[in-house]
Amino acid sequence: MVSLRNHESTAPAPRARRGGGPGAAGRWRALPALVRFPLAALAAFTAVLALTSLTGPAEDLRIGSVGYYMLAIAGLQLLIGYSGQVSLGHGAFMFIGAYTMALLVLHQPAFPLWLNMLLTVVVSCAAGVLVGAATARLHGPYLAGATLALAVGLPALTVRFPELLGGSNGLAFSVRGAPPALAGVVTTSQWQAAAVWLTALVGLVVLATVNAGRLGRRMRALRDDESAAALAGIPVGRTKVTAFLISAGSGGLAGACQAYLLGTATPSSFTVALSLSLLAALVLGGLGSMWGAFWGAVALVYVELWGQELAHSLSLGTNVANNLPIVFFGVLLILVILIWPQGLHGMFSRLAGLVRRGR
């Protein structure tokens, strides 16, 4: 497909692309979504494989965490940034995903990982349709309130059904690592990080395809003006529910990846704080771009880590040390939004623009 495109232009296109000439970006954008997004995902996956080959198990775990947070935030981005529906309860879908994964591993040990991931998507999409249909008539703060109630209430199910869901201790299970054939080549943690990233990137390709096409345009249209969108023939209610479905599917898949990576699903991982962190990370990363989801996920994982390390090196009391990462994140959020309202993605594209003009 790539070479087909190049034949159409008279210039020696492959070289021009490598040189980053003015036409390269345009030609890249002209590629069909079906080619462009998988290629970008493949590049990202290669980068992750290269990165994890250099890092140790603890770092692999964090890289994997960036992967699933990125997926969850990108799903939230589609819901909030595109369809204009604010959800404060996205942690609830991660909860559903993580527990579906845990239950599948515990009760159906013969199922392969990909099937578990697929079933998790189905379950969380179904939950998303239910929530989306129930809240389709709610706007703004009322919708936010309803989704917040979900995030508060749902993890309590674990205590209500302790035999099935393991109570407040949650469910622990062990996952299979790398296949025996690759035992000497990759470590279990590398394998896990790669599996999480592959899943997240497949999800991201779907989200990017939706965003770039008719459905994304329908969502942005109804976000901007519901009556005008309806008069253009766009089924407003159905499109809103579809946005919820896609977003819930991403959240659920992210939760499944988390459970797979950690080998546990506990209610304390899915508090309201998680839902609010996802929202904060989305705003910090930048609304309106897939890159925003990536930067938000990086910030979510590493700012907390740096906060912990800082607290450790200052040998503060536990009360202060436990809260320092949150303060750290909050200060960063406020600073970035004050200076770059478009978030970290806005900051990076502004800087890239300056560099380009300076050359």
Binding site: A33, R214, R220, D224, D225, A228, L231, A232, G233, I234
Partner: protein, 263 residues
């Protein structure tokens, strides 16, 4: 009703709408034949917008029927209009501020896409073809209204007259058979109104037009048939010449029978 042609596109009969104790429309009828421009006029609060809303499925009448090409519409909703090939503009411009002019018009062309939900979700099937088709149609519509230069601009950065054309292009891009125009002249200058009048006459070669408008010169210039509403009732209808000569219309607008100019 039967005065225009025997086979109207749109026929509303005996429409009665009450909001609580207030009767907004009482036994109102209206018909639009293909290739004609029908004007709907009346003082403020006469019920013009309510009738528009009944036709578009926003308001459900207590009595009466709306028939589209001979078929009675019982439960239609605003988002069904495009599929029925009825386009409606709103009183404001109601462009989507976060979408470029081209994307605004592409939303209007959404009906023409061939792919279903599967294609929209996966990027397979008609996804790419639909994008190209909608983009080409939208670009052609912008060119038709002479605003192709504005394709990549956000609406807020464009002059009002250009925004108005983009809104018209969005309404017309999907090739409707009936166009409902809600006060299209509001906010336009004299020259632009003349151009609008010519454009509306041009539309009538391809579709029926129902026009709600306060600007009497425009109404008289472009309409084949005029229906006058006052206090929710049809007080007169006929050709522009008949309406201009009608004493009841003059009274409704001016409150005095001896005056005969427009409001």
């Amino acid at each position: 009703m039967t005065t225009t042609t025997p086979d109207p596109l749109l026929a509303a009969e005996g429409i009665t709408v009450r909001f609580g104790g207030l009767t907004a429309l009482s036994d109102v009828g209206l018909a639009v034949a293909p290739g004609t421009v029908v004007g709907l006029i009346g003082p403020n609060g006469a019920g013009k917008t309510t009738l528009f809303n009944v036709v578009s499925g926003v308001v459900r009448p207590q009595h009466g029927t709306v028939a589209w090409k001979g078929r009675v519409l019982r439960a239609h909703r605003p988002h069904h209009l495009a599929g029925l090939r009825i386009a409606r503009t709103l009183q404001g411009l109601n462009l989507f501020p976060g979408l470029t002019a081209l994307e605004n018009v592409m939303v209007g062309a959404d009906r023409l896409a061939r792919g279903g939900t599967f294609a929209m979700l996966t990027g397979l099937g008609h996804y790419h073809g639909d994008e190209r088709r909608l983009r080409e149609r939208a670009m052609a519509a912008l060119e038709e209204f002479g605003v192709a230069d504005a394709a990549r601009a956000l609406p807020a950065t464009l002059p009002f007259g250009v925004q108005k054309r983009v809104a018209l292009a969005r309404a017309l891009v999907a090739d409707p058979e009936l166009l409902l125009l809600d006060e299209p002249a509001s906010g336009l200058s004299g020259e632009d109104i003349t151009a609008l009048g010519e454009a509306v006459r041009g539309f009538s070669a391809r579709m029926g037009v129902l026009l709600v408008e306060h600007h009497m010169d425009l109404v008289m210039a472009v309409c084949d048939h005029i229906v006058v509403l006052n206090f929710g009732q049809v007080i007169a209808q006929g050709t522009p010449a008949e309406i201009q000569a009608d004493a009841a219309v003059a009274q409704a607008y001016l409150g005095a029978a001896e005056e005969d100019s427009d409001a």
